[in-house]
Subunit: 514 residues, 2 copies
């Protein structure tokens, strides 16, 4: 790892104080199998909070608290024994769920390929009662199941209180209210998107507060764009930029993600598109904040990423597609990444050139302008299939949604042909589709870019609007309206149901609909 301690120190000096709010459970529920409901589960109220606190529980009893909204925070329990003095520890099992499936489907059934350690549960022994317990780990949940595994024959346990101290570095008072004139469902979509962003805003922009709880640059770029139009926490973006800049892979490439603890360190994951996005992120940050000092300090790293990205071009000027690289683009095992990677390179070169101009780095600006020209030409010459009217990718000349979307965003074609490309994409949908909200974001962004605003809004409604219909309190990592149990990990249980890259409806609404 290339470590620039000066930059890392600047990042660490920007660790925000988190804002806290206390949330209480709203009702007791049960989760019921229902083929009609999302993922086959719906909830039903079984008891009020008042009834619950009057009750006491013995061995084998259990209940499910519904906090009424998605939360990220620290849980406290007030426990009171009922009966004789407790003569044995209390043994509880706690299960936290963002979604009803996590409460209904036993974690022991999990057989996915991501670590089962992400499933939020605890086995708790309480040696001394009554007790005020503050659990040390952070949970991400709306539902909390408590199984009383054992008390003793001499006592039962009552729950005087269970609460959650929710945390975020997003300050809702900085978010401007939407005009009342916007339709109710758009305002609701904005609210949920902002809540999604808020719950991901911690001491960095996390990708998902349940899983992975890390700063990924692909997520950061979208979160920052939404943040500039909502919470406007510029320092949090700045902290994240310094973290990426301060810890790079051996050849200077910005890592795909970084960890904060026990001390800041970079992951060993290298993604072609994510490294390039460092330049786009810095461009966007400067545009939003006008913080010239940071932009100037980090410019060399952004420029370096573009130079490293350019090194991947073959002698035709096209990104080499072989087994030596990873380019994220979307969760799709058959998707060829050459054309999307080429488009991301171009997209980022353009933002880099613009930032170089703003900072008066004329020599680098002009170098980048030259590269933009060459890469654009090569793209049109080698990746554009005039006959089919689509960009192709890889040796098999794959035509995918991702390639067209990213080429539209890279503005390789002039505006009218760019719009025609998107119209053609809608009219003649390729079979290699989109799977993540992250990819879906770029699709909607491309529609807005080429002036297809109605279609963009319709697609937002069909995607994030449908998530709302399906019960989203925050927007999800993964969603396919046509296959609602989809998980690339082998199980619904480990999907993140509050995920950074899904927070962008507020960005669209506030950028394009106001």
């Amino acid at each position: 790892m290339l470590m620039d301690q000066n930059l890392v120190d600047k990042a660490e000096a920007l660790i925000p104080e988190l804002r806290t709010t206390t949330a209480a459970p709203q009702r007791l529920i049960e989760v019921i199998a229902d083929e009609e409901a999302f993922q086959g589960w719906r909830t039903q109220t079984v008891q009020t909070i008042g009834e619950w606190t009057e009750q006491s529980y013995g061995k084998g009893d259990s209940f499910v608290l519904d906090f009424g909204d998605h939360l990220v925070g620290y849980v406290s329990l007030s426990l009171k024994p009922v009966g004789s003095p407790p003569d044995a520890p209390l043994k509880l099992k706690l299960t936290f769920g963002e979604m009803p499936c996590e409460i209904a489907e036993p974690f022991s059934s999990y057989n996915g390929w991501l670590s089962s350690s992400w499933l939020q549960e605890e086995l708790l022994f309480v040696d001394v009662l009554p007790a005020e317990i503050k659990l040390p780990r952070r949970y991400c949940f709306r539902y909390m199941k408590i199984d009383v595994l054992d008390t003793s024959v001499k006592y039962k346990i009552a729950f005087e209180n269970v609460s959650c101290e929710a945390v975020s570095s997003g300050d809702p008072s900085r978010v401007e209210p939407l005009p009342e004139s916007l339709p109710e469902h758009i305002r609701e979509m904005d609210r949920i998107a902002i809540k999604t962003l808020q719950d991901c805003m911690q001491t960095v922009f996390e990708d998902g507060p349940k899983r992975d709880r890390r700063l990924w640059i692909g997520d950061l770029r979208l979160q920052a764009q939404a943040n500039y139009l909502t919470f406007r926490n510029y320092d949090l973006v700045r902290r994240c930029l310094y973290l990426f800049a301060g810890m790079r892979l051996e050849d200077g490439t910005v890592a795909a993600c970084v960890f904060e603890k026990p001390k800041a360190h970079a992951d060993d994951t290298r993604l072609y598109d994510y490294a390039l996005f460092f330049a786009a992120c810095l461009h966007d940050y400067y545009e939003a904040s006008r913080d010239r000092e940071t932009a100037e300090e980090l410019w060399p790293i952004a420029y370096e990423q573009l130079r490293i990205g350019l090194r991947r071009l073959d002698d035709r000027g096209v990104v080499a597609d072989d087994s030596t690289w990873w380019c994220f683009t979307d969760w799709h095992s058959e998707l060829n990444k050459q054309a999307p990677g080429q488009a991301v390179l171009l997209y980022c070169l353009k933002r880099g050139a613009e930032l170089a101009g703003s900072l008066g780095r004329t020599e680098e600006q002009s170098f980048l302008a030259g590269q933009i020209g060459q890469v654009s030409s090569a793209t049109l010459r080698y990746l554009w299939d005039e006959e089919r009217g689509f960009f192709v990718s890889g040796a098999d000349k794959q035509i995918s949604w991702a390639s067209q979307v990213w080429m539209a965003l890279a503005e390789v074609l002039p505006p009218d042909r760019n719009a025609a490309l998107m119209d053609r994409l809608l009219a003649e949908p390729p079979s290699i589709g989109m799977t993540t909200p992250y990819m879906y974001h770029h699709f909607v962004e491309a529609l807005f870019l080429v002036g297809r605003k109605d279609e963009a809004v319709a697609r937002m409604n069909a995607y994030w609007g449908e998530m709302i219909e399906d019960g989203a309190d925050t927007f999800w990592e993964l969603y396919n309206p046509a296959d609602k149990k989809l998980s690339p990990y082998g199980s619904n249980l480990v999907n993140s149901y509050c995920h950074a890259w899904s927070c962008t409806p507020t960005y669209f609404i506030r950028k394009y609909l106001m």
Copy 2:
């Protein structure tokens, strides 16, 4: 509860600082089924500690550490990831066992009637690695199993260190070494008895540091007697006496046990014999410590216990035997408690009268002397069966070991006839036998009392000596050489394998064999 805050405050001012020593694992073992071994399990070394620290573990791996001796204390783990930066929490299951059965028999198989919360296990999620973890709960164990439930595909986990900070309020440097002239097996029995006492000596004399972790007066009496000849921690006995004196049941009866946390409080369990033992405990404490101030302050409570005990006499002068009382005596469902209860009353009246004399309470001394005479006469008249040569108990005139032993200890008969009673007991053993080391202690004590020293030593060897043969690191709560899987709780797993009332071989050795 009758609360005398002044007495409780005195008890709390005597909370001892615990001595700590650090223990390290000695080897890695596996537990193997073996019909010949105690409880069907034996251990076998599989790896050295040096080999273990070089190793790394992934999902599904597990190992068992053997610390080489019984420990009561706090466990720390040093964890180091191996591979890529950890991208998911580490999920561990920890299982602690005093005995191999606790490692070999899954806790999920437990079906006893005591709370399963006593079984020592933890589910541990470690969000940040590397990590130094100090587990907050106290464990009681020799063996520690670690199951690595999950890491992630990107990393494994290595254990740089696992250690235990063992705690006790017993200071081994105060224990006088035994003369070298005593046989090796007696010295070994003494060592294990002292270790048992030491591990039970915490901020009170606990009955068992694994289970129940409470101060019971029946255990206290024996622990204190052993303590006066070993650790000589008089203040700890004093603390316990003040706890019992300061918190009594509504009619003034000393509770059978008390709890220390969250603040000192008495249990609602009332045992006829245990309440009377308060007077015996105070007598013994004064004899050992000559602390007249404490004896004088607590005398009225001791005297009150004797008065309450006397109230149970019917108009014949015999302890009423009906469904309204509990008298512990031994874990034996068929044992009638009338004669043992009568004997304990007499035993305690005698110690009370002696203490009253020492303290110059002549009026109370003379009252007690009168009662001793009356109770003795009634005992001989109504409970002694001249024809059978045994004391009988209850409506069915049950003849049990417990009745004879306690009558011998109460010295109802003159010395020669008392010795003859014990001889007859050995020659014509009643079918209602003894089940606990607690009862067995009183049996051996009675043999020493009546001058049958060789038989007493033989019985010690046959009981505690056999426990050593069966692998005891500390002496056990329950042991029946004829039925080694015995548990009154429905499972071996919840038996306490370091138990106060089993620590008395050191008392016998140091009182009678030196």
